[in-house]
Symmetry: C2
């Protein structure tokens, strides 16, 4: 195979991997293409759903004639696993086949693998090439890599504001500041993130359902920070068909214990069917960092935060935002709720610069995407 | 001439007219091209400076051989004048030549002309065609047309803010929120507007000189609203080389009278060499509408307003902004001075929609241009 052919097949494997987006967390997305000695694709597959077969297995299962595997090349977007998890180790499975070469886009940095998959293959006499479309592979699994490295979800903060920086009119209304195209984009993001989060005030005043409606896509978990655990139970987050997908982050120790108690649940007719995460209270607020870490423990690798002012500002101030998605609508309010406050920046020199940023028009609005 | 040729020559005339930008106010920009019967350009000209010759005269002066004027066509971007102003009427001057046809982009809507120039030409037996590139001609003289119609300058409000809508850090500093490319654009606008205006607080705290430095261009007049007429005289606006180009709008009747009194001036060594506009006081503030009308009386047809918060908001609230130029920098302050406040909009439905708008990247920033 030439280097150019390697890239073509790896690109195909990346496209396959992408199909698993939203369904494989907290696993990474992985795609695999098997090419015969003659240069024909004889198997393709991707990791389709958490707990189900890995990409390499799905691709191998597609191979009709085992003879074709002789001297074949396997393209896989992530280092094959070397450990027994929910499925047997893929590296060994590949090594047991008469293949000649494995091409890997990037090493798996997670503790359980971290090069051992590549080592196993090499020890079994298989040619291994790595780094083909590595940049693209890292981008594909950006959130998962972040989750592995920092033990918290990759956090995207979405804000929709007027050109003068207000997210709601003085009467509290915010429907709709941004254009339909912008709102559709948000629904796509919802379907791609493991969870969507709002603060207590937003839950109370806007009563959002945080569902995927404007586009087709899978429903993410819904996280609400409710320090005292006192939000009314008739809110959409607690009463609609996705109630079980709601996670409450609270510092109310007693309530979080009671609500999680199966015995007490049985005694209540309308007990809360979602999950509860208990965190410590600091300065009257639930500890955000602890909350994020515990979301990671719950398998949330990517989190889309949809306001409001207090939560957005608190996350930014604590360095808990990885990407800002700021929709700016061509409108002026000149009053109401400001988008971001209390960052405790006093001088221009103290502004924390974005790592990079990009402006993109969406409908009538402009979208600032900034990495922090 | 074909319609296509008409457009080509008129486009040339418009390009010539543009060269007068910044130098002809309160006159409009006008360009003129004379084309012989054979289709050769025999004369070109534009209105170069207020008080000097009109475009038609300058073009006619270029004609070497008067014989070439026989059956020639004259392209002029604005209806030739029919009245004696600083110069004799151009319509009569053209009618006296052996030309065949005059092509005019747009009628002159000002009271003194308003079709009389075209009528004069037609009565003298000259073919007159109007409306060729009319849209472009109106755009060229957008400010002047506004000034003629509404008897106040065309007001452009420029604001440079962070992505979250702050124009200064909590310590008052605003240098520099926007990128170099954005600031250069502002200097170009300064050179193109008849005057640049700031409010009292901006004059006091930023001590701007409002000069054209980052680009080549002519220095506009500088307007500062100083209700009590108490700003310190050592500010740049009152003490630099352009002091005579400074106009103070004040409601201090006594001071505006004293400062304008030639006898009192002679008695003072450091009297104010600029102009003074007196307006009434309303709710403790100088009457903005009256100030704008009086600026028009002073020959200001276009005004660039460069903040700050109080002046920007007051102009917007009173419907005195014709175009908003809002630079948004990819930075967050989360505190400081908000760009726009107190518009008294309570509900989303009460937002005044822009007539049209456009997003454009300038350096790192995005620029929202909106017509109100």
């Amino acid at each position: 195979m030439t280097a150019k052919q390697d890239k073509i097949w790896m690109q195909r494997a990346l496209s396959l991997a992408e199909k698993g987006r939203g369904y494989v967390s907290p696993n990474p997305m992985v795609g695999c293409v098997i090419v015969s000695e003659e240069g024909d694709v004889i198997g393709e597959g991707y990791h389709e759903r958490y707990g189900k077969a890995h990409a390499e297995v799905n691709a191998m299962n597609q191979v009709d004639d085992a003879d074709n595997l002789k001297n074949a090349t396997v393209y896989v977007t992530l280092e094959p696993c070397s450990h027994h998890g929910k499925t047997p180790p893929c590296a060994q499975m590949l090594a047991d086949k008469p293949i000649k070469r494995v091409v890997v886009a990037m090493k798996d940095p997670s503790e359980k693998v971290n090069g051992r998959g590549l080592e196993l293959l090499r020890n079994e006499g298989i040619d291994v090439d790595t780094g083909i479309l590595q940049k693209e592979a890292k981008e594909l699994n950006e959130c998962w890599l972040h989750y592995i490295e920092f033990n918290r979800p990759f956090i995207t903060l979405k804000i929709a504001q007027t050109a003068d920086g207000y997210i709601a009119a003085p009467n509290g209304d915010s429907k709709w500041i941004s254009s339909k195209e912008s709102r559709e984009k948000v629904h796509i993001w919802r379907s791609q993130n493991d969870a969507v989060m709002v603060g207590r005030n937003t839950a109370l005043h806007d009563n959002p359902s945080l569902t995927v409606r404007l586009v087709e896509g899978r429903q993410p978990k819904r996280v609400v920070i409710d320090g005292p655990f006192e939000l009314p139970r008739n809110l959409n987050l607690f009463s609609d068909q996705f109630e079980e997908k709601t996670i409450v982050i609270t510092h109310n120790r007693k309530k979080s214990k009671d609500e999680a108690d199966p015995m007490l649940k049985m005694l209540q007719s309308n007990y809360f069917r979602g999950e509860i995460i208990h965190v410590e209270k600091v300065n009257g607020h639930s500890r955000l960092k602890e909350g994020m870490r515990k979301l990671a423990d719950h398998g949330i690798t990517s989190l889309l935060v949809e306001g409001g002012q207090q939560l957005s500002s608190a996350l930014l101030k604590r360095g808990l935002v990885d990407r800002l998605q700021l929709f700016i609508a061509p409108k002026l309010l000149g009053g109401g709720t400001k988008s971001i406050v209390n960052l405790d920046i006093n001088r221009m020199e103290d502004i924390v610069p974005f790592r990079d940023h990009n402006w993109q028009q969406t409908g009538q609005d402009i979208l600032l995407t900034a990495n922090l």
